[in-house]
Symmetry: C2
Subunit: 101 residues, 2 copies
DNA sequence: GTTATATTTGTCATCTATTGACAAGATTTT
DNA sequence: AAAATCTTGTCAATAGATGACAAATATAAC
């Protein structure tokens, strides 16, 4: 299981691109991309579409990947019970069931 | 499965308190508490300790409850795959395993 | 080993989202 | 219908996330 930043770095290295180059393609600062790859910042969700296009990745899948990481970081850093995810899952089902009202 | 706002309202009604009264105890605006109870705003996590004290609730449990609702709302509103929670769970385990390094 | 290239780190400004506050309207109770 | 309670709308204040830039460190090329 690789974290998101690590995945970005791997993809970039596979193409032999510098931070500067990829950062330019994503229209972000290379210093900030460095922080993303080293997990010191999170990847801005708004940049996901262009990111996925560059690396031919499935957008929905990466959205899920990115969001799961945010959830995990929150739960980890605040020492919340892992049960939180089961609860959340139930709540989503409930929301969907009671939709269209 | 009751949502968080509904729980607050129920607890308040059980005591026969007005919004104004509970809001004062929580040191928030009664209009905003109304929005919380009707799910138009989320409950501020910082107010959880005092809230739990007032109603003799377990803080950790309510933290989990509140956070799961935020996760659920996000996933629901952005149409993210429910798989996100399984992923997140794995990631938390991974973080814990690789802790203390 | 020195220069150039690439990456990391720190800081602060800016933008965005969340919450606070207040006024006015609607509903309920008495 | 008057009083009390609750809801809604709006905007200001605060907090959190991201952008931008400079300087430091590390890596690679020569």
């Amino acid at each position: 299981m690789e974290n998101f930043g690590g995945q970005v770095r791997q993809l970039r290295k596979d193409k032999d691109w510098t931070l500067t180059k990829l950062a330019a393609m994503l229209d972000i600062d290379s210093a900030n991309l460095s922080k993303i790859e080293t997990c010191k910042r999170s990847f801005d969700e708004k940049k996901l579409p262009i990111f996925c296009k560059i690396f031919s990745l499935d957008l929905e899948k990466m959205k899920t990947e990115l969001l799961s990481e945010k959830f995990a970081n929150k739960v980890y850093s605040e020492n919340v019970d892992g049960e939180v995810f089961h609860l959340a899952e139930q709540k989503v089902k409930y929301l969907i069931k009671n939709d269209k009202h």
